[in-house]
Amino acid sequence: MENMHMKGDYIVLEISPKAYSLESVYAAAYVFLDRAYVILDGDAKNRIIVKLKPKSKESPKQLGHQFFNELINYSDYIKRAKETKKVRETLLQRALITNNPNVIDFSDLFFEDKPDSLDNTEPLEKEEKNAGKDKDNP
């Protein structure tokens, strides 16, 4: 295979940053830290070089193939994470709003104009105090 060759004890992988982001390369490299010595080299814009030396008696070539698999895995994961970022954020915001509407500044989120009903919203504590006063002075 052209993009993989042995150099001493190391298997050298050549990766195009056009095909795989640097983020994916780092992510794949972290996975291999306990199985191999990992060195990143080359040019981040043109050709990333990853050198792997197995810590045990594992086959270096097999390690190289597994690294490429991991690279595909993380590229897809990162791509999907970016695609679904807004959905996840919206879900989180909804959850927060459900629990306590005051934690969100609505003016920045869903509404171009702040609804009138929200302008009069007071923090929960204040409302409770007022309710207490009302009980004392009917």
Binding site: Y26, A29, Y30, L33, Y37, L40, G42, D43, A44
Partner: protein, 68 residues
Amino acid sequence: MQEKIKITLNNQFYTRKAIQDTLKQFKELCSGRILNNRFEIELSPKENIPNIEGEFYNYVLGMMKNEN
């Protein structure tokens, strides 16, 4: 005292902070210093530790992960 080891970490992939933090963590195993901006590093192991440079490479990468 073991022989000095010279390694190079590509400055496009590794940060100075991660290397410095690793050198601090390794100070009981070896002394070391960054020689230049191309991140050539000289390690002076205090005892015979097999593949200390490989462990150093991996540790720096681990520190990079913590930085992000």
